[in-house]
């Protein structure tokens, strides 16, 4: 079974790497993170505090905190597109008629998307490292590029970010199976994130007594809790919406809530897909 899923993953990669979309998205992620890095570098140069910016790997860890925001959105769009295109082109029929197995195919897709998310983060991280070295050369005073930071923390955070993206990937895939459409699924997933978690949740938390307990079980807050290291960062506070400082639950709470979301959405997706009739092309 594992061998079959790995084989399917390999062939999915064979197919998907030949699309432009993942490479364009990677370019966007790198460009976004570079804008953040160089803007920060310019600001710190202006106030004469470039040292902290250039210390490896802390610069990567901090930079990837921002990189995660864009990669998290892009991977949702990519996951929806990769799966939804099968409906659009009518290729599900050809895949399943070859005996690939429905849940096995979904499982392979999910694993590949998770690996893609990890790879994108890693590439964005490398881009940060290269920029950091270049920035060190620009500053010109030897020793500013330091390797004294916490490499273990970088590894840990890469794992945490990847895990944090997993439930959103499952959400996007579930919505594709539910709607049989890339466009509708992407729109619903982004509406949930930006309107549901970004706007409604902070408003309800601020205005409804006791809603915070409910909010702790909403995916966005659970993921924030999972990612928080020693309390929320300024960026997290800002991105949580309207400057409302979140009183986040524990890491472990965040881990399990995200796991439950993954399990429930994943099971619903597989159940739905097993029940669905597979037809021809719906138009790309």
């Amino acid at each position: 079974m594992i061998a079959q899923i790995l084989s399917l993953m390999t062939w999915e990669w064979y197919k998907l790497r030949r699309r432009w979309m993942p490479w364009i998205m990677l370019g966007i992620a790198i460009a976004f993170s570079q804008v953040v890095f160089w803007a920060g570098f310019a600001f710190q140069s202006a106030i004469g505090q470039t040292g902290g910016t250039l210390r490896l790997p802390d610069v990567i860890t901090e930079g990837l905190g921002f990189g995660y925001q864009i990669v998290g959105i892009l991977i949702i769009i990519w996951a929806a597109s990769a799966l939804g295109s099968e409906y659009g082109w009518g290729t599900f029929r050809a895949i399943l008629a070859k005996g690939s197995g429905r849940w096995q195919f979904l499982c392979a897709q999910f694993c590949l998307m998770l690996a893609t998310a990890f790879a994108w983060m890693a590439v964005v991280g490398v881009a940060f490292a290269v920029s950091s070295v270049i920035a060190g050369l620009i500053v010109g005073s030897g020793g500013l590029v330091s390797f004294a930071g916490e490499w273990a923390l970088l590894g840990k955070m890469l794992g945490k970010w990847t895990y944090a993206m997993a439930p959103y990937i499952v959400l996007a895939m579930f919505l594709v199976i539910l709607t049989s459409s890339t466009g509708v699924a992407t729109a619903l997933a982004l509406a949930y994130i930006f309107i549901g978690e970004g706007v409604l949740l902070p408003i309800l938390t601020a205005t409804v007594d006791g809603f915070e307990t409910v909010a702790d079980f909403v995916l966005g807050r659970a993921v924030d809790a999972w990612l928080a290291e020693g309390g929320p960062s300024e960026a997290e506070v800002m991105l949580s919406g309207f400057g409302v400082a979140p009183d986040l639950p524990s890491n472990i709470h965040g881990f399990f809530v995200a796991l439950v979301y993954m399990a429930v959405l994943g099971a619903a997706m597989v159940w739905l897909f097993l029940k669905k009739d597979i037809g021809g092309a719906k138009g790309s």
Binding site: R18, A94, G99, D277
Partner: protein, 304 residues
């Protein structure tokens, strides 16, 4: 006991109030080229999709290769094209086949070249699928169906969109595949195509099986002969006076006589005795098309 590759039992599919397939019981023996005939919307594609596990039956059951359903092991022994083949537009024909070969876990690179050659696509194999004509897409679909050298082939309208030369080529290919011992379930609304290629047929109308049998039995010679004589009017008088001739009519310059085929020689003898001579004579045979139109019309009459 007959070795059945496909056996369906009261297989049904309903979409809301519409019954796409209604209690279909089919028996397809091993090694047969079996035609599934029916007008558009008669349930042929839905029936095939159910057998491939793509569409869930509402009721009934089926068996493939004598046991089980459309599981992974069964599907690895089947090749199929359903309706217009669908492939990845940004990949070449070869890469599309390579991908599906990988997904099925059967076959090698050499097989791809052989299949592309077999369907006449070797020259365009490295072009993107989106640049293919409908006929080329259909050919790629047939190559896809043949991946892994399957024992059972589902071909749903395989000559759709092809020019006459291409259709003849694919017909020859299907005949060849059938002669190699494969079982082929061929769905088509082109009756001539089915008549030329298939051993047995099933006729569907509005999701129901209305006739099933060997082609040679369905298109059997009728008890009618057609004659051209030196005087059709005189011949008509002579033949209608014979008590064993059930009828004779003059139609479009020839005479259609209803009488036992084996007594045809007696017709010519009776006519020559009256110095009326036969210039042409042939038995009338019902074509599959006529048979099809008859049974579907009967079915429509019964239903209405």
């Amino acid at each position: 006991m007959e070795d059945l590759v496909i056996e369906t039992n009261e297989l049904s599919k309903r979409y809301g109030r519409v019954t796409a397939v209604d209690r279909l019981s089919l028996r397809v023996p091993r090694g047969h080229v079996f035609g599934l005939l029916g007008p558009n919307g008669s349930g042929k594609t839905t029936a095939m999709s159910m057998l491939l596990g793509l569409v869930r039956p509402t009721a009934g059951s089926f068996r493939l290769f004598g046991n089980g359903q459309a599981d992974r092991e069964a599907l690895r022994r089947i090749g199929a094209i359903i309706e217009t083949p669908s492939f990845y537009p940004y990949l070449s024909g070869r890469r599309n086949l390579e991908y599906f070969q990988g997904v099925s876990g059967k076959g090698d690179r050499q097989e791809l070249d052989e299949l592309l050659d077999k369907v006449g696509l070797l020259q365009r194999a490295n072009d993107r699928y989106q640049t293919y004509s409908l006929g080329m897409k259909q050919r790629l679909g047939i190559a896809y169906a043949l991946l892994g050298d399957p024992e059972l082939l589902f071909l749903d309208e395989p000559t759709n969109g092809m020019d006459p030369a291409g259709m003849a080529e694919i017909r020859d290919l299907i005949k060849q595949l059938g002669s190699e011992g494969r079982t082929i379930l061929l769905s088509s609304h082109l009756l001539r195509e089915v008549e030329l290629v298939c051993d047995s047929v099933a006729i569907l109308a509005r999701g129901r099986l209305i006739a099933q049998g060997k082609v040679e039995e369905l298109v059997h010679p009728q008890e009618q002969v057609q004659l051209c004589t030196t005087s059709n009017e005189q011949a008509h008088q002579i033949l209608t006076s014979l008590d064993w001739v059930q009828g004779a009519v003059v139609e479009d310059g020839h005479l259609v006589v209803t009488a036992p085929i084996e007594r045809s020689w007696e017709l010519t003898a009776a006519l020559s005795r009256s110095q009326v001579y036969v210039t042409e004579m042939w038995p009338l045979q019902i074509s599959l098309e006529e048979y099809f139109l008859d049974v579907t019309a009967e079915d429509a009459g019964v239903t209405n």
